[in-house]
């Protein structure tokens, strides 16, 4: 019973399409044809990291820490009781879409420290979009997401994240001394991903 109803419905639909097609084919009317070429510009994409264009290919950028000179440590070097900062500057100039930046400061993989008992750590991270208020970011290893809306992108406003690396004098003299004798370079890896905000 049910199947018979379905069959009738399907047959009716096919018949209806066939009738419309036949009638349509024999109709006449005024007809004009034209072709419209719709021209649409593709929104541009351009992002620079500390002055280097990273739009087209993954890039590795070396950033030197700026060490606060306190007069007691050789300029440009870090030692117990001193701190250094570095800036990650993201420049959207040329882009025409809103952007999400995801920045990860890999605090678990700071390298170049001979004796890790020394207190060498990222102690603060702050970011600012040009013309806006400064924001504090987490330094516990979690990725930091920053959204730059279209108006800021079109204005070419940069996003600057300032990160502080600190060597705290915290009763770890033996480890600090070992690191001082060994010397070396402390490195902090940071990954930056800029994506179109959908």
């Amino acid at each position: 019973m049910k199947e018979a109803k379905v069959r009738k419905g399907v047959m009716f639909a096919i018949l209806l399409v066939a009738v419309v097609a036949v009638i349509g084919g024999t109709y006449s009317r005024y007809i004009s044809n034209a072709t419209v070429n719709a021209s649409i510009d593709i929104a541009k994409w351009s992002v620079a990291l500390n002055g280097t264009d990273i739009s087209t290919a993954p890039t590795t950028k070396q950033v030197q820490l700026s060490i606060a000179n306190n007069g007691f440590v050789k300029e440009g070097t870090i030692a117990p009781g001193t701190a250094g900062t570095f800036d990650v500057v993201l420049d959207p100039t040329g882009s025409e879409v809103a952007i999400d930046y995801v920045i990860n400061i890999d605090t678990a993989n700071i390298s170049g420290i001979t004796n890790t008992a020394s207190n060498i750590a990222i102690t603060s991270a702050k970011y600012v979009i040009d013309g806006q208020a400064e924001q504090t970011a987490s330094v516990n290893g979690e990725s930091i997401t920053i959204n730059e809306d279209l108006s800021n992108v079109l204005a070419g406003n940069k996003v600057t994240m300032s990160v502080t690396l600190e060597w705290t004098d915290n009763m770890t003299d033996a480890a600090d001394t070992e690191n001082g004798v060994a010397g070396g370079i402390v490195t902090v890896p940071i990954t930056v991903t800029a994506s179109q905000h959908i």
Binding site: V47, T52, T60, T77, G180, V181, A182, S195, Q196
Partner: protein
């Protein structure tokens, strides 16, 4: 057929279709994406220290150093290479910071003499530590941790070695023990520890380079054991802002050093009051601008806090137009005090609860000076009498050496309320026989020269 059942089935079917569509859309979406890696890096400041040619950067090492006589320090009444009561020998080590990239502190301590047979009632100890870097000699600051000497980053980076001289003195204090030790003729070992450590900003060294800060502000920023190094002359010549005797307090924490580094502080007489326990003021000049009463003291060591006293203050390698004390115990070493001719009063004056110990230097009166020295007791009616708290020294004014030029003015005030110094040594242009300490002699060299030894 149940209509409700059919509607439910249709809804489920529609939902499945929608879910599939969303899934398809999601997996085919694309967006602009770029990625990069930044590697932030910093060089570690290096640490490399040698003591007497051996590297002690990573490990502690023992050194045997023989203390020897030193001209001008040791007396010649004891055979060379030996120590006896009253004798001072000098043990020297050379510290080489070449290769280090941080400022350093040298901390010098001595421990108890453990030599078998030595009677420890004899008092053999460090009397001072002198350090010479790049031809400049300074006395290490005595602190609760020991003697501390600071070598700045410039000298470290230049690889300038520090000659550390420890003055080991056998104080004449216990005749029986001293005699027993003399009879035993021991070869003693004085355990001395030299620790070289990175100097931290938090240790308190600050450099006066911000002209927006007054000396009062800068001194307040110096922490305990810290040093304020002056990089330029300071002149406060505005009498309205710095009126005479107003007492702008230049207050230091304990064991601080005010190193003028060859510069001059100029201020109206009495405008600045320096205070601080174990404060050392060194290596520069003070110029007191004349007050309406014609005072021109360059240094006012005044503790204005009730009856509290600044103890252990040292002024060394300084020249000034006059020194005035109030509630301060001071030792003057290699100080040149010259009272200008237009100034009245005294070359050095000690008010209540002050003590003065002069070890060396040159002290000169001017044409209008009342007397070379004035030293008041507790108050005008209790001259020389100790108070219940013992703060008023009966013999609180002592002269151990130096050159003293009265230029015809009185040597010291002896009027009511003032007491004279006790003289153990020095060269004087007047007869000071009345003030020479027991056991010491005065010799008249000529009509203008008397020598006390």
């Amino acid at each position: 057929m149940n209509k409700g059942s059919t509607r439910v089935k249709n809804k489920i079917f529609l939902a499945i279709i929608c879910a599939l569509l969303v899934g398809i859309v999601g997996t085919t979406y694309s967006r602009y994406t770029s990625s990069a890696t930044a590697v932030a890096s910093a060089n570690m400041a290096k640490w490399n220290i040698e003591l007497n040619g051996e590297n002690i950067s990573s490990e502690s090492k023992n050194f045997n150093v023989t203390a020897v006589k030193k001209t001008g320090v040791s007396n010649n009444n004891v055979v060379d290479g030996k120590i006896a009561p009253g004798q001072t020998l000098v043990a020297s080590v050379e510290v080489d910071p070449t290769g280090s990239e941080v400022a350093v502190d040298y901390l010098i301590n001595v421990g108890q003499i453990q030599t078998q047979g030595f009677d420890t009632d004899s008092e053999i100890s460090l009397s001072k530590v002198v350090c010479t870097v790049d031809g400049v000699t300074s006395e290490a600051v005595k602190t609760g941790d020991g003697y501390i000497f600071y070598e700045d980053l410039t000298n470290v980076l230049a690889g300038n070695k520090a000659l550390v001289e420890a003055y080991v003195e056998w104080t004449d204090s216990d005749n029986a023990a001293d005699t027993a030790n003399g009879n035993a003729a021991l070869s003693i070992v004085v355990p001395m520890q030299v620790t070289v450590r990175q100097h931290l900003a938090s240790d308190g060294i600050a450099t006066y380079s911000d002209s927006s800060k007054t000396l009062m502000v800068m001194s307040s920023e110096i922490q305990e054991n810290g040093t304020l190094v002056l990089n330029e002359d300071i002149t406060y010549d505005d009498y309205e802002e710095y009126p005479t005797s107003s007492g702008n307090v230049v207050s230091f924490e304990d064991n601080a050093v005010f190193d003028l580094s060859g510069n001059t502080v100029t201020a109206p007489n009495g405008a600045l009051h320096y205070t601080g326990n174990n404060l050392t003021i060194e290596n520069g000049s003070f110029n007191g601008l004349i007050s309406s009463a014609s005072g021109r003291y360059g240094i006012h060591l005044w503790n204005d806090e009730g009856s509290s006293v600044s103890t252990g203050v040292v002024v060394q390698n300084v020249s000034t137009t006059g020194i005035n004390l109030y509630n301060t115990e001071v030792t003057l070493k290699n100080v040149t005090v010259t009272m200008p001719d237009d100034a009245k009063f005294y070359t050095v004056y000690g008010n209540v609860y002050s003590t003065i110990t002069i070890e060396s230097g040159t002290y000169t009166a001017g044409n209008n000076t009342t007397a070379l020295f004035g030293y008041a007791g507790t108050d005008s009616t209790e001259v020389g009498n100790a108070t219940a708290d013992g703060k008023n020294p009966v013999d609180g004014f002592k002269i151990y050496g130096g050159t003293f030029n009265t230029n015809g003015k009185p040597f010291c005030l002896t009027s009511s309320g003032h007491i004279p110094p006790v003289i153990y040594g020095g060269t004087f242009d007047c007869d000071v026989t009345a003030y020479v300490a027991e056991g010491h002699n005065i010799t008249k060299v000529d009509d203008t020269t008397w020598v006390v030894e």
